[in-house]
């Protein structure tokens, strides 16, 4: 069953374009993005800073209103203050240091959503809080702590517990483990996977880290400059990518098994307020032809279940398969 349906969503922000003037331009952070998430599924959303992945995440939780397009939950359009929406979709943020109210105990933080939505009778709040704490691997004593007394990993567990309190169907995890040390990061990732198995929660898992995204996701969407450039199963996107940008991201990921030679990109991402014509990746793309500067490619299904917005997706696919082969042989040595 399709849980979340994002259709043709666009979000523009007004920005000052030049110094010394009040001239305003529009920065299109998210450009006609469509995607679906099934119940109990994890969709990974990967991209570099400024690509619009967080903006998209916030629109899904309706903390931002789309400029155009629709966000439906189980087929229904919701008002951003609708309690049903607020119970169904939750969000976890990156920075564990600002995501907990500084003046509340952990117990109070977890009681808040229970009180707001009257999820359990007053008398049972305390026991439900204890239950939530144990669900995320914290001790009952933590209910009396303040966020500042906890470690980064513990705070992130509290954030997860707060999201779980309303028994949501979808959790948007916006770089939820990026601020954590690797040794703690793995704990949180495993916790989130376990919770999904037990409760059938769907995740929109936003991260810049391809390794983490692959570990967590059933399917992966790759974003570049506000658009989804590739969308497919986690295995397909990570191993047989169709888009040169996905390739570039993959080959830039450091690996303990030696350097992956491949399609490195030169230069840096363009200014999102002033995107290039045609395919927005073409100035950095080694595959680019004349057509790419003019014609913006559509997100097309090139292989079963795998879509890409590239004029040369099949050629890219062939080359990434070769690269994959090289790598596999090297890994064995």
């Amino acid at each position: 069953m399709t849980l979340l349906e994002v259709t043709d969503v666009t979000k523009g922000f007004e920005v000052r374009t030049r110094r010394f003037t009040r001239a305003k331009g529009t920065l299109t952070a998210v450009k006609s993005v469509s995607l679906q998430i099934e119940a109990g599924e994890t969709l990974g959303l990967v991209g570099e800073s400024g690509c619009g992945k967080s903006t998209l995440g916030r629109m899904v939780v309706r903390l931002l209103e789309p400029t155009s397009g629709e966000v439906r939950l189980s087929g229904v359009l919701y008002d951003s203050d609708d309690p049903v929406l607020r119970r169904s979709v939750q969000i976890i943020f990156q920075d564990p240091y600002t995501s907990l109210p500084p003046k509340m105990t952990v117990g109070r933080i977890l009681a808040e959503p229970l009180l707001i939505h009257r999820i359990v009778p007053e008398g049972q709040i305390e026991s439900r809080v204890r239950q939530l704490l144990s669900d995320v691997g914290l001790k009952p004593e933590h209910a009396n702590s303040y966020g500042s007394e906890l470690s980064g990993g513990q705070r992130q567990r509290v954030s997860i517990a707060r999201a779980l309190a309303v028994e949501p169907e979808l959790i948007v995890a916006d770089e939820a483990v990026s601020a954590l040390d690797v040794s703690v990061q793995a704990q949180i990732l495993n916790l989130m996977r376990d919770l999904q198995e037990q409760r059938g929660i769907a995740y929109l898992f936003i991260s810049h880290d391809l390794g983490v995204v692959r570990y967590m996701s059933h399917r992966i969407a790759v974003m570049y400059l506000g658009e989804i450039v590739e969308l497919g199963t986690a295995d397909d996107v990570s191993e047989n990518s169709l888009h040169p940008y996905t390739n570039a991201l993959l080959s830039a990921v450091p690996s303990i098994h030696g350097h992956v030679s491949g399609s490195r990109v030169e230069s840096e991402p363009p200014d999102p307020a002033n995107p290039p014509s045609g395919c927005s990746f073409h100035p950095r793309c080694s595959w680019a032809q004349d057509v790419c500067a003019v014609d913006s490619p559509q997100l097309i299904e090139w292989r079963p279940g795998q879509r890409a917005a590239c004029h040369f997706a099949l050629e890219v696919f062939e080359s990434s398969r070769e690269r994959r082969h090289d790598q596999a042989t090297r890994g064995e040595n």
Partner: protein, 646 residues
Amino acid sequence: MTDLIASESQLESTTDRPSRLLSTFKSPLALAGLVGTTLIALAAVFAPALAPHDPTGQNLSQILAPPFWDQAGTLEFALGTDGLGRDVLSRILYGARNSLTISFFAMLLGSTLGLITGLLAGFFGGRLDSVIMRLGDVQLAFPFILLAIAVLGVVPNRSAWHIIVVLGIPGWIIYARVVRSRVMAEKEKNYVVAARATGASKWRRLFIYVFPSVWQVVPVIALLDFGFLIIMESTLSFLGLGLPPPAATWGGILAEGRRNMIVSPWLPILPGIAIVLTVLSINLLGDGMAKVIDPSGAKGGFRRLRPEPTPRADGPDEAPPLLRVRNLSVEFPDANGTISAVRNVGFDLQRGEILGVVGESGSGKSVTASAIVQLIDPPGRVTSGEILLDGEDVVQASDRRMRQLRGHSVAMIFQNPTASLNPVLTVGYQMREALRTIGIQNRDVKDTVVRVLTTVGIPDPKRVVRQYPFELSGGMNQRVMTAMALAAQPRLLIADEPTTALDTTTQEQILTELVDLARSREISLLLITHDIALVSQYADRILVLYAGEVCENGPTSRVISDPAHPYTRALLESVPRVEVRSDRLQAIPGEPPDPRALPIGCPFAARCLHVMDICRVEDPSPVEIASGQWTACHLWTEDRAEVMRS
């Protein structure tokens, strides 16, 4: 990630318990302020009981009597009398009563208005905010004191309420601005956004979430405002615009005393002392509270704290490595104890070698780097050990010598390139300055700038030199930093998380360039990072730190393929990899130990899969397990290393 690593270098504890304000009185100055304020407030309240005479009672036989310390003075009129024979002590006590009451109510009026408008403007923003702030602009753009003076000058039958209103109302803007900016910062924080996502209404967010985090600033401003208002009230009464005579006011006593100041100089001086003491007490109290709420104030400045020189155990080395760190320990004392950031760390770095230093936040990797350039943030200090750069111990080097070494022999680039360049100076200015410091002649500087910028891959150096750091991308700024670091041809380059703040694709470009440049110039590189996979691609050797101690130090290929320490092994297994599908990550249980309360024994013992009894008792020292590979683990000394590999 950036925030967390940044916080490592500061190692600050921000305890946010609601009862923080009480800790104000740990400071002796604030305590003195509290005592002073309380005494004066009591004197004002009990003035009728304390005053020996009627403050308005004239006694024409006692005109201008001197105070008791004067030979002619008496204790009956302890502070003398004024030109109408009124007792000065009684008048000052009643003056306190009048002045403090008026100022207090004026403060109450201003703070209430300011708190309400600030909360509303900050939280709701939009048109309401514009209207309130525009009003504030008008108010700030004009000296309303002047208008206050004019109004009090013309108003018929001036009373205390007139003064309260005229003094109090203009104060609102100070409160409103601070409260508004705090509310605006607070409402964007994730916890408020998360509250909205869980369905908290806007009033709930304002009063349950935002308000508790911002209100503390109001009493602090109120106290400082109170002091200011006391001065303003006295100023008005000095100008004859305060409470009408014969009421006793400090300013009034002073104004009247001024007429007789040649014969009786204490008359204008005494009420002034009362004002100074009162306002000083209140301000000290306010400052103390402000420090607790906003502890951003005093860091350590440029202090450098050095340990006593220790006698060198071994004789001079025949062929010393470029860098040799021995038994380095660094501590950061703070209010809650002492953080042992680095303990007994030792390693060598050969000429032309690239050493990767890997560790999580709190592992001591950045502090070690700061110690090498002797720029540890005070009050942190090297407590023992030596850092030999080409055989010279930098820990004991003079400040002057250190300045020579920095820039010439050792260069450093930092995690956040944009923050590491001065935002108000152009890139060109900072480049030229750096080049002149290392002795490049003035006439060559401009050409050299362009040349070095070209070598680090900046496409348009002539344009870049005219730009400010905020106009360039993080990657560009890191290239500028690299250019500056390499221009001096240093022997050692320390790169502290040079690409953590950058995007994945940029990270790879920058690092590859950096490593290529170091290799081609035979510069030794200390590459500090939290990412073991990243460092494995560039480093010759890897040093793994955990909780301020060395776990493992060996050639990259050995450390990656057959790690000798359980922590290194666990670290490698806990990183999700993109090239293969992993079923389940082997997470390391638990969390790193509290650096203020380190366990006895091995710091990793509590999280180690192969922990033995000895690990909880004795901290292992590094042993050489193979040529050039060192590890600090009891498994090796106990001959049980095989269990790791199973």
